[in-house]
Subunit: 363 residues, 2 copies
């Protein structure tokens, strides 16, 4: 059975280098389907004054879909079916995930448990016991299948429900000693990857992985984290996403406790046991999801831009990132028109998107 | 030179069993001087329907004053001269203190450093270093000259300024091994006692001592405290008095950290070093003191109670403590009249005062 044409078209956009989550989302919202967006791209890019980005080849995507199926995994697409609703709230939600295992875990209250790869034995034991106690209370424990605290968290929750989010492809194990643990998480829990099969994790993939961990969950707990560590970035994401940030304290004499103690000083909830966690997340675990407009069935209102709009927006853009809202305000144009101009410029390779909904001319 | 008559009269009231800080304060406010209050007491008690409390004998007080002078110490009276203004803010401020040492320390920004008597060696080392660093920053370190954290705090701040508040008389050392440390604090810092010389500390004296420690200082830091320990009571007092409450965290695996971690969960500021302490107390250290009306030179407005007032207030009183404000509201009487009736009843041994400005019939 050939793969659904819509999935192929979506992945052709998603796997293209120049189309990030925000652009993908806008293309689908504007044109109603991935195929309609693909058809429109050359024209859009031409209006933006450049050449259309090279999309991923159809054959390449068909190979990916076949490989994912062969691995016993499947794609989840943003805005469709089982895609986790908490993650879908993010402005930069991954347009597609590859998952393997028990998909019902995505529907339960979940907490991320993250921390140092070189955590102390005591911290690992604590993480395992905390995961076990949270699991007994019905909470799904999410982590990154790294060494140290991550591994301990997965181990503690293997019987009750755990989700491992990995930086590379769904079939790639890192670190190598986690081969058995990753297999166990996929068989008894759920394994989640953003990259296609076969992709070895690179440094730039780990921040994406951390963002997914924070976005999937109702809250993030940090156990032993050095200042500036990835765990603290996950915690920062959780705060940005409006999720609960929790930290396990330690003695000021222990350098490994400094990151967590600082988090608590900055407002994170100090947690010592599963009861503290349950108390902290209970206001969030029952809240309705913030609905984003993810129904692409009907294309958005036509918002074609004319030369005047292109000139006005082009004049306002510079090398310094500026919020799109600011462009709308200063240009006096309808928001949809400004978005169209930005989309054209981006597809022509002349626009760069930055964090916080800001844009600049491409450097 | 004979002691000032006013000091003798004040101490005769203060050293009487049935006259607590609140009653003492009201007597002086009502009658303008301790001697005038002493003269009025038999009449007041008779109106309350009982016998006047036995006041401390004049000779006994003269012996106390002579002994305090012999020990190189002195009395400080609430509302007079060098009595520490932060402590004077308390509704239950001790009417008199006995102090020995460097009185200028009472005028500086100060922080209490308290904790477990059986603290770990690491915690004691941490407390000593923290005290040293706070001292270097100009902060006076106040503690209770107990074993463990208290002793470490005094040791760390001996060169820069430390105040030891003890539960017994100024000439009594407890625990015995602190004899050298207590001498050093009196010689290089300041020693403070509420009880007269010669009084051995009893269990009931330690809560008074803790209240003074919290009341003297801009904030209280707790290092390693068991749940329900005296250190946590000191911290609770600090919070009641509007002072900063700070705690040093520890691993949830360390039972000695539980009290501090819970304090932080309850809103105490997590501190790891002197900079954190300075940041926490800076909003408080420069604030003007809340002035209580401590000028007794002129007696307060006459607020004699008549039989009607006595009957109304008496009917409203029962064995369950009730706020004085509530009595005023329900009786419809002027507040000063209600206070007079309560004073009469108390001096007659028929009223009991409770925390939070509540009163009941004496049990």
């Amino acid at each position: 059975m050939p793969p659904p044409a819509d999935h192929v078209a979506r992945l052709r956009l998603i796997r293209s280098d120049n189309i990030g989550p925000v652009t993908y989302f806008q293309l689908l919202a504007r044109f109603g389907s991935a195929q309609a967006a693909i058809d429109a791209i050359p024209d859009l890019a031409a209006r933006g004054g450049g050449r259309a980005p090279r999309l991923a080849a159809k054959a390449e995507i068909e190979r990916e879909i076949a490989e994912v199926a062969r691995l016993g995994a499947r794609h989840l697409f943003l805005g469709q079916g089982l895609y986790p609703p908490l993650l879908a709230e993010l402005e930069t939600a991954p347009p597609a995930l590859i998952v393997k295992g028990d998909l019902t875990l995505l529907d339960r209250t979940s907490v991320a448990l993250v921390g140092a790869r070189n955590a102390s034995a005591a911290a690992c034991r604590f993480a395992r016991q905390l995961a076990q106690a949270m699991g007994a209370a019905g909470i799904v424990v999410v982590s990154g299948l790294a060494r140290g605290v991550d591994s301990a968290g997965h181990d503690g929750a293997l019987d009750t429900g755990t989700i491992g989010v990995i930086a590379g492809g769904i079939d790639v194990v890192y670190p190598p000693e986690n081969v058995e643990r990753q297999r166990a998480v996929a068989e008894r829990g759920l394994l989640v990857a953003e990259q296609p099969p076969g992709v070895e994790p690179r440094a730039r993939h780990f921040p994406y992985r951390n963002r997914i961990i924070a976005g999937l969950t109702h809250g993030t707990i940090v156990v032993e984290a050095a200042p500036k560590s990835g765990s603290l970035i996950t915690a920062r994401h959780a705060a940005e996403f409006g999720r609960e940030v929790m930290a396990v304290p330690g003695s000021p004499l222990d350098p490994r406790a400094q990151g967590c103690n600082q988090l608590i000083r900055d407002g994170a909830t100090l947690v010592q046991n599963a009861d503290d966690v349950i108390e902290a997340i209970s206001p969030l675990s029952g809240r309705p999801f913030r609905q984003r407009e993810l129904d692409y069935a009907a294309p958005g209102p036509s918002a074609d831009a004319d030369e005047g709009a292109r000139r006005v927006v082009g004049d306002l853009l510079g090398p310094t990132p500026v919020p799109v809202d600011e462009l709308v305000r200063q240009s006096g144009l309808p928001p949809a028109t400004v978005q169209t101009v930005l989309l054209e410029l981006e597809l022509a390779g002349k626009l760069e998107r930055h964090a916080g909904g800001r844009v600049s001319v491409a450097s």
